[in-house]
Structure formats: C-alpha cells, structure tokens
C-alpha cells in the first residue's frame, strides 16, 4: 500500500488508513490532502480520501474520487477494494462483489479481501462462490478455527451436509485430546451439536446418536443435548427410551407442550388430526391424570385434556379447569379456550357450563354444589367470559348485554372496555369501538398495549389523524409519527395504509404499504453483520436457522398484506389515474386533436424536467441517510404524503415488482393469483392471466372469485379480434389447447357454466353475488335478472350441532358490504343498493356502514356523547391527556 510513494508520503498514507479505521475522518482527509499536494494523481490516496468522505456524508464526492483514483491506478488492489467497500456501504452487493473479484485478480491471497468477499457471497446466497472463497481462506490459514468452521458451513449451505461433516471431523482431528480449554467449552460444545444436527439432517441417525453420547461430557448445553437425544431416539423408533427421556424433560419443564406431544408419540397415543377413538381417549385421560398428580403446578397438563376429551368428560374437565381461573381472575381465559370452539359441540357445552356458573354465583354467591362463597370478582370474570363467548358466536346483542352487566358490577376493569370495543367492532360499529378503546386507553395512560389497541380501532374507523395523535403519545418526545416507521411498527403502517385506501387516498396508502415493504428489505439487510459474528461466536445452529428464516422472510403475513395493498393501489392508479387539475382538463377537452397532442407533449416534457429536479433534490436530502454514516442525522421526508408515488409512469409495472415477490414466496395464497390475474388482464398479458387462472382453479375452484376470473377470462378471450401476427396466433393456439383443461367449461357455454355454478352453491350469498355479476357481464340485458338473483339470497341459520342455543345466522357483515359495493359500482343500481342496505341494516343493527338502528352514528345525540363521539371535544380531551403522558 502506498508503495509507489517516497517514505514521508508513504507514512502519511498509512495514517489515512489508520484514521479511517479509527473513525478520525478529519485527520485522514488532512493527511490525504498533504499527499495530493505533491502527487495530485496518486490513485490509492484519491480512493482512500473518497472512502473517508463517504463516512462524512459526502456521497457524490466520494464516488467521484474513488472512481478517479481507480482510473489513475487500475492495477492497484487497494483501489478496487475501496471501490467495493463503497458499493457495499450502499448495499450494492453485486457491484461490490465484482470489485472484490478484480482486487483479488491483482492480489489473489489477500486475506482481508477474501473475507469481505465471503461475507457478501453469504449475504447474496452465491453459495458456490462462497464455498470457493472459504476454501481459499482455509488453504491460506489452516490454523484458524474460524476458517475450518466457515468452510464447513459453506458446504452445508450449498446443500452438501455430508461434506460439511467431513470437514468438521477433519478439524476435530487437528485438536489435542484435552481440547477444549475451559474458556472455549461453550463454543466447542456448540460445534459438536451443530455437527450432530448435520448427521441428523443426512439421515445418519444411529451415527448421530452414537456421536452425541460419546461427546456427552463435552457438550455444555445440557437441555439441547437431551432434546437432541430424544429427537433421535424417536426417529429411531426407540420409544421406550424416548418415553423415559421425555419424562425427565417434563420434570425440568412441565409446561412445554412439545414434551407432552413427544411423550404421547412414544406411548403410541398421538394423532395429527387430534381425533382419537374412545379407547384411546380413556388411555390418554389416564395418562394425563397421572401426570397431573405429578406436576400439580403445570397448567399445560390441565389444559391439554380439554383438546381430546369429549361430551360428559369434557364438560367435567372444563368445569374444573375454568372454576379456579375465574376465581383468580385470568383475563386471557377465553383466548386460552377459544381453539375449542372449532371442535364440534364443545362451544355448546361451554356455554351451558358457564351459564350454570353465572346462575349459581348470582343466587348463592358460590359455584354450584359448593357452600363456600366466591370473591365478588368471580361473577364479573364469568360475565366477561360469557361476553366473549357470545361475541365469538356472533350473538352481539347478548354479548353486549353481558359485558355491560360486568361493567356495571365493576366499572374499573380495563379489559371490559377493550372487549366491549372488540364486540362493537365485530358487530360493525367502528366509531363506537374506537370511542370505547379510547376510554380503555384513558384508564391507564402508561399502558402501551391499550394505547396501540385504541390506535388500531381508530384506524379501522378511518379516524387517521386522531389515530396519529394518539400513537404519538408513546413515541419519543418531539418526534412525529415518522418515528413509528423507524421503529418498524408494521401493524400501524398496515392499518393506516388500509384506512387510506378505503378513503381513496392512494398516495398516502402507497406510502404506508411501501414503508412496510422497506422494513423487509431492512430485515434482509440486517443479517449481514451475523455472517462474521456467528462464525466467530460459534452459534452455528442459530445461524443456520436465521439464514433459513431469512430465505422465507417474504412469506410473512405482514409482507403479504403490504404487497397486496401496494398492488391494489397500483391497480387503482391504473384504472383511474390521478387528474392533474380539472381546469386544465376542461381546456384540453376544448382543444382540437392536433393541439391536444402538442399540449400533451409539452406537459410530458415539463413533468420529466420536474421529476429530474425532484430527484436531484431527493439525492441531496438523502445524503444524510447513509447507513454507515451517522445514524442520528435526521432527514426530512421529501414526500410525506406519497404524492410522488402517484406519478409513476407505469403503475402496473411497479405493481409487478411486488407481485413477483408474492408469487415467489406466497404461491399457496389465493390472493396472490387473484392479484396476478387482475394485473395481467389489464396489461393484456393473456397467457400470464391464464397462468394465474390455472393456479386459482387448482387452489380453490369453488371460490366465487375463482369463478369470476374464469368467466371473465374466457369472455374476454372470446371477444379478441382474429389473430394476425405470429405471436397472436401462438396465443390463440395455447388458449385452444388449454380450454379443455377447465372441466367447468366442458361442452358448456359460459352462461351455462355460470348456471351450473349457481346450482352447486345456491345457498351461499357470495356465490350468488358472483353468479349475478357474471350474468350481467356476459349479457348486460339480463341486469334485472342478475340483481334479483342476488337479492333473493336468504340469510339462513345453519342446521348444525351448534344451533341449539340462540340462532347464529350465516351471513357475514363483510360479505354483505361487498355485495352492497357490487350493487353500487358494477350494477350502478341505486334502488337495489338502497333496498339491500335497508335489509342489511336490519340484519346487522350495529353496523355503521348499513346505518343500522343500533349503531352509534344513528342513535340520539346523548348516546353519541356518552360514547365519546368524534367531535371536537374529543380532540381537546386527547390533547389534555397528551400533556399528562409526556411527563
């Protein structure tokens, strides 16, 4: 480095490097300038100065200098390395890899560059390259532990676990017998556990078990040792030994559900579906009774039997499970039991049981058959449970009566207000739900959870600015709600985006959805530091698990929601592009065609200019964002309302980016392919739309949306002009070949297929709506018939085992709203929509959407006030609270 310089300058160059490493950037710049005074063209100095400036938030200069330096000294590995580092700091990993490779061409054995390269390869999952680089590192420095481990891990990631085992064993061969020394026991134990997990992965179960037991004394993590041992035993069908070991593990932690499941497997009493014969149930019952005697403090041992027991036995077990928890006052009791509501018949048993408790508590103050009195709070918790029970069953009026009774009994319990808010939300009264959540929030201003819950309810009620004000109470002083983005508060951004989308504020909605997408990019980015850290610290099992988690990161539900939201925004933008200003449009309309064209061109040019300017400004503003620079530099968001996001040239292409991620990571979700269909049919990409349709049919052919796509697709295709070009002919050929693969259309016209679909699902509202919509789409003159078809839908009570106590009807509020929207937008029939609204208002009296008789926006003023309303008074109150919250 700096070899071509005279001694004085060479020393100065060393100083630059040292200053860079110790972050004394100003000192480095001074030294660099001193060299450049004498040797203004010295490449390596120019590069280092650039790299230093990069850390001082002077990005454009940095790039200029680094490139100039490289140009002056193309043969210097330093210049290439620096260029790579610069790209890496901007997350341009592919470019950085290229630079490192060039540097290595000049200096193939440079360990530092090799190490940096290997980290990038791991990050980019360039696995073959990763293996190669790690091999080189090991060859150069075989006495480093990290190089052995890195080489093994690279092979493992590159799907060659057996090679990884060989390498680890070779590494062990280099160790002395008394290895490891006391201070490295943990690391060595981790390495051994990693190797055994590799053996297990390769299916070498017996060898893994043998190795595990042989190294028992060297493995520090005793719990992992036992869990690994039992997992191997079960896989080797050594159930007797497995059972013994699971019982040992249970004495260590009698609340770990996995141990109970494992034990059940070992004694041959396990079914994946959770269904058992009556003989098996008796055996399980006996097993858990004996375990329960052993582990009296375990709640798992009491809870698990409720899953497999049925009828009378279930009733008794539930009774003795519930009683002490109501006495103690466990607010989460309902969520604990709610999975049981999916088991046939259990909801009814629970209902009768808890109603019995309520009756007895009211009459005697104690539980049935007990002379002992319960504390007064037991009745309140019982009512609290019942309210959630009836909410779950859709009987909102009963649920509200119960929760109000509980509030009358003890008006100070916050959970009561939260649950009432939830019931009202389910019943469709979002404004009242938000007001109640706010009441709950006010009862404990120090509780972030009730604050968050309140914010969410406000967003559901589309009170976005109020929600922002409330959320800000819990962000750092002075910071605006942008802080929520920095904290990666995704639920907030999603709920806010969805609210904006409902209110047709596409720009703001996009801003929020893309914000969430960015978090996922950041999470991917965040793994970078672990590539070196984990190898050094030997947390190999956790490292591999983390990498695998990262590989399926974008399958996460929040990402799915954000991507789907963004795509919907882009579709909306495409369908109804934002109009610049109405005045201009009027003028345009008056102009003759030729002038119009000129005008448009002018506009386009102006727009392009504005865009460029904005970009420059943006870049200037973004200088401070540099990830490796000072983090605390605050940048002003140049586009807080997402207005720029609206100005995309091709919204569908933008949407396509996110669609690709959905298709790659969430191929099993209907929504992915629905969106793909919508995007591609708009882009006239017939074959891609067909592909989406085929996925839809494969995933759920009976889904009303699938049906819609099917009919729409073939209807559209039928109206295509006669193919002229080769590619059009090709497409027609594919369509002809593919049509027979849709059994729905065999020998039928689209109208007939539509009718058949109706016959198959004539009791379902959403299916009828789809059929009606398609009937109108196929033959617009059948509009009246189609509307009648939808309106003749009946809200039946299902005749199921659950029907005995209080009828629960089939229609869902959400679906009825969707039908109303179809009547308004697709059919454009105000009368029909009004009739539908009136009818749904009766079915859902709490719904604000349908203006039902019991909803908060409909009832008299005094009630609205009591519920907090959404008037100005509300905001005042909030501001008052804000002052309090900051103290």
């Amino acid at each position: 480095m700096g070899a071509s310089l005279p001694p004085k300058e060479a020393n100065l160059f060393k100083l630059i490097v040292k200053s860079y490493e110790t972050k004394q950037y100003k000192k480095g710049i001074k030294a660099a300038d001193a060299i450049l005074k004498k040797f203004p063209d010295h490449g390596e100095t120019l590069s280092m100065k650039g790299l230093t400036l990069n850390c001082m938030d002077r990005k454009p200069e940095a790039y200029e200098l680094v490139r100039l330096g490289l140009k002056n000294d193309l043969k210097s590995h330093v210049c290439w390395h620096v260029y790579g580092l610069l790209y890496r700091s901007d997350r341009e990993y592919r470019e950085a890899i290229k630079c490192y490779r060039n540097a290595l061409r000049i200096d193939p054995d440079n360990i530092e560059i090799l190490r940096d390269l290997s980290l990038l390869q791991a990050q980019m999952r360039d696995l073959a390259g990763f293996v190669e680089t790690r091999q080189q590192l090991l060859t150069l420095k075989p006495n480093h532990r990290m190089n052995w481990i890195g080489f093994a891990v690279s092979h493992h990631l590159n799907s060659n676990a057996s090679k990884a085992i060989d390498i680890l064993e070779a590494y062990e061969g280099t160790l002395e017998d008394d290895y490891p020394p006391e201070n490295e026991r943990c690391e060595h134990g981790e390495m051994l556990l990693y190797k055994i997990s590799l053996l297990e992965e390769c299916g070498l179960l017996e060898k893994a078990l043998k190795e595990l037991r042989k190294k028992e004394l060297k493995i520090v993590d005793r719990l992992s040792y036992k869990e690994e041992e039992v997992s191997l035993l079960v896989k080797l069908n050594s159930f007797e030994e497995g059972e013994k070991l699971y019982r040992v593990l249970l004495t260590m932690n009698p609340d770990n559900y996995k141990y109970y499941e494992g034990l059940q497997k070992c004694v041959g009493l396990h079914s994946k579906t959770g269904e058992y014969s009556s003989d098996e149930i008796d055996k399980l019952d006996a097993l858990y009774k004996s375990l329960g005697e052993q582990y009296t403090w375990s709640s798992a041992v009491k809870r698990i039997p409720l899953d497999f027991l049925v009828a009378e036995k279930f009733r008794d077990a539930a009774d003795s499970y519930i009683r002490p928890l109501l006495t103690k006052g466990v607010p989460s009791l309902f969520s604990d039991l709610s999975p049981l509501y999916d088991h046939p018949g259990k909801a009814n048993i629970l209902e009768k049981l808890v109603l019995g408790l309520e009756e007895s508590l009211k009459k005697t103050g104690g539980y049935p058959g007990k002379s002992e009195k319960e504390p007064p709070s037991t009745l309140m918790w019982t009512l609290f449970y019942l309210a959630q029970h009836y909410d779950r069953r859709g009987q909102y009026d009963v649920a509200l009566a119960k929760i109000e009774e509980a509030m009358q009994h003890t008006p100070t319990v916050i959970d009561l207000y939260s649950v009432k808010s939830k019931i009202l939300k389910h019943a469709g009264d979002f404004a009242a739900a938000a007001a109640l959540a706010d009441e709950a929030r006010c009862m404990d201003l120090a509780d972030r959870y009730v604050n968050s819950q309140c914010v969410k309810r406000m967003l559901q009620a589309d009170q976005v600015s109020l929600a922002e004000k409330t959320a800000v109470l819990f962000t750092k002083d002075g910071d605006q709600h942008n802080n929520l983005h920095d904290m990666q508060c995704m639920w907030y951004e999603l709920a806010s985006g969805e609210s904006y989308l409902r209110q047709n504020e596409v720009g703001r909605a996009l801003k929020k959805f893309l914000g969430v997408e960015k978090h996922y990019a950041d999470i991917t980015e965040d793994q970078f530091d672990f590539h070196s850290y984990c190898l050094r610290k030997m947390t190999l099992r956790a490292y591999i698990e983390m990498l695998r988690f990262q590989d399926r990161l974008h399958a996460h539900a929040y990402f799915r929601k954000a991507a789907a939201g963004a795509i919907r925004c882009y579709i909306k933008l495409y369908d109804s592009p934002p109009t610049s200003s109405t005045e201009e449009d009027d003028e345009l309309a008056k102009m003759p065609a030729s002038q119009k064209k000129k005008m448009r061109q002018k506009q386009r040019k102006a727009e392009a200019r504005a865009k460029k300017e904005a970009e420059v400004k943006n870049e200037e503003a973004n200088v401070g964002v540099s990830k490796y620079g000072k983090r605390n530099v605050k940048t002003v968001d140049p586009d807080p309302n997402g207005e720029k996001l609206l100005q995309v040239e091709d919204p569908l292409m933008e949407g396509g980016k996110y669609l690709k991620l959905l298709q790659k990571h969430s191929p099993d979700h209907l929504e992915t392919h629905l969106l793909s269909f919508e995007v591609n049919i708009r882009k006239q990409k017939i074959l891609l739309a067909l592909q989406a349709l085929k996925h839809l049919v494969q995933l759920d052919a009976e889904n009303p949306d699938t049906h819609r796509c099917l009919i729409r697709f073939f209807h559209k295709v039928a109206s295509r002009p006669v193919p002229t070009t080769d590619s059009e002919k090709l497409i027609s050929g594919v369509l002809e070949a593919e049509r027979p693969s849709f059994s729905q259309l065999h020998g039928k016209s689209l109208m007939e297929a539509n009718t058949v679909f109706l016959e198959q699902h004539k009791d379902s509202l959403m299916h009828r709506a789809a059929v009606g919509e398609m009937m109108y789409c196929l033959e617009p003159n059948k509009k009246a018939e189609a509307i009648t078809l939808i309106q003749e839908s009946l809200n039946n009570s299902p005749i199921s085992s659950n029907g005995s106590l209080g009828a629960v009807k089939e229609w869902k509020l959400k679906d009825c709203v969707a039908v109303h929207k179809i009547l308004v937008s697709t059919f454009d029939d105000r009368d029909a929509a009004l009739r539908w609204k009136k009818r749904c208002g009766e079915e859902f009296p709490y719904s604000t959407y349908f203006e039902g008789s019991l909803c908060s926006t409909q009832t008299n003023v005094s009630k609205a006030e009591e519920n907090g309303g959404i008037s100005n008074g509300k905001i005042e109150k909030l501001d008052a609270m804000k002052n309090l919250a900051i103290i």
Partner: protein, 164 residues
C-alpha cells in the same frame, strides 16, 4: 366472604396516569360530579389519597385534602371514601381509612374531619367505630340532594410526646 382464600388487598397511589380509575369509581359511587379542584387536591395530598385493589382490580378509594389552618397547623379533610357495592364488607374501607389514620399519626396531624349527609347512618356508624364524633351540623350544605344538611364528623388524634 372470601374467607380462607388467598385474596390480596393492596393500596396504590394516584398519579396522572391512573387518575381515570378514581374518576370511574367516583362516577358510580357518588351522586356528585367532582370538579378539577377535587382531583388537583387529591393528587397534591400525595400518600393521603389511595386506590384500593382487590385481586388487582381497583374497587375503592380514599381521597383527602391537606388543609392549613391560620395557625399553621395542618389537618386532613377526607373528601371521599368509597368502595364498589359488590366489594363492600370485605374490610377494604377499613384498610383505606386505617391507612390515612396511621399516616396522620406518623406525621403528627391532630385533626381529621369530613362531611356526611345527615341521613347516611351507615357511614356515621362506620366512622364512629374509628373514634370519629359528630362535631357540628351544617344546614343546607348540599344543593342538589335531600336532605341538604350534613354533619361534620371529626377525629382528634392525641399528639405523641415528640411534639416540642
């Protein structure tokens, strides 16, 4: 009563973060809507205002105001003492009042007093158990409830010898 069960009754101070709990209690316990001064006095009294928790549920409160007489002597005025109906008879009111009595003793406060509506016999006998006595009757003290008259109920605590 919850005899024989492990029921815990605990007291907690009132702060701006949980002031709403006191407001909720008052709104169901008393026919009067208290003004901001009431809550400011309660917060200012510090340890003399307490919420009572029964199994972690807020069920009662005592709210006091510290008054300085012209002589400079401090006395305690109990503004409100109440427990939610279902939780009465469990010793919660006693615990709240005892807390204030003990605190007054510790701080060498010699006088604790309050107003009681003349027909509120339960309250009068409750306070008498703790050594309070009727010291005065004020006619037309209340404006919107009947009877409008009230008693002043006072307890004098003999000062400990440490008074110099």
């Amino acid at each position: 009563m919850g005899a024989g069960r492990a029921v815990s009754i605990s007291l907690d101070g009132v702060r701006d973060k949980n002031l709403m709990q006191l407001k909720k209690l008052n709104s169901v316990l008393f026919p009067v809507r208290y003004n901001d001064k009431y809550y400011a006095d309660a917060l200012a009294s510090g340890e003399f205002t307490k919420l009572a928790y029964y199994n972690d549920i807020c069920v009662g409160s005592i709210a006091c105001r510290l008054e300085k007489k012209e002589t400079g002597v401090v006395r305690v005025y109990i503004m409100t003492l109440g427990v939610l109906a279902p939780y009465r008879g469990l010793g919660i009111g006693t615990k709240l009042l005892n807390h204030v009595l003990e605190l007054s003793q510790k701080q060498n406060i010699g006088e604790i007093y309050l107003h009681v509506q003349t027909n509120n016999e339960d309250a009068i006998s409750f306070y008498k158990k703790f050594g309070f006595e009727i010291t005065e009757t004020i006619k037309n003290y209340y404006t919107n409830i009947t009877p409008p008259d009230c008693y002043v109920v006072t307890k004098y605590i003999p000062q400990s010898q440490s008074k110099k």
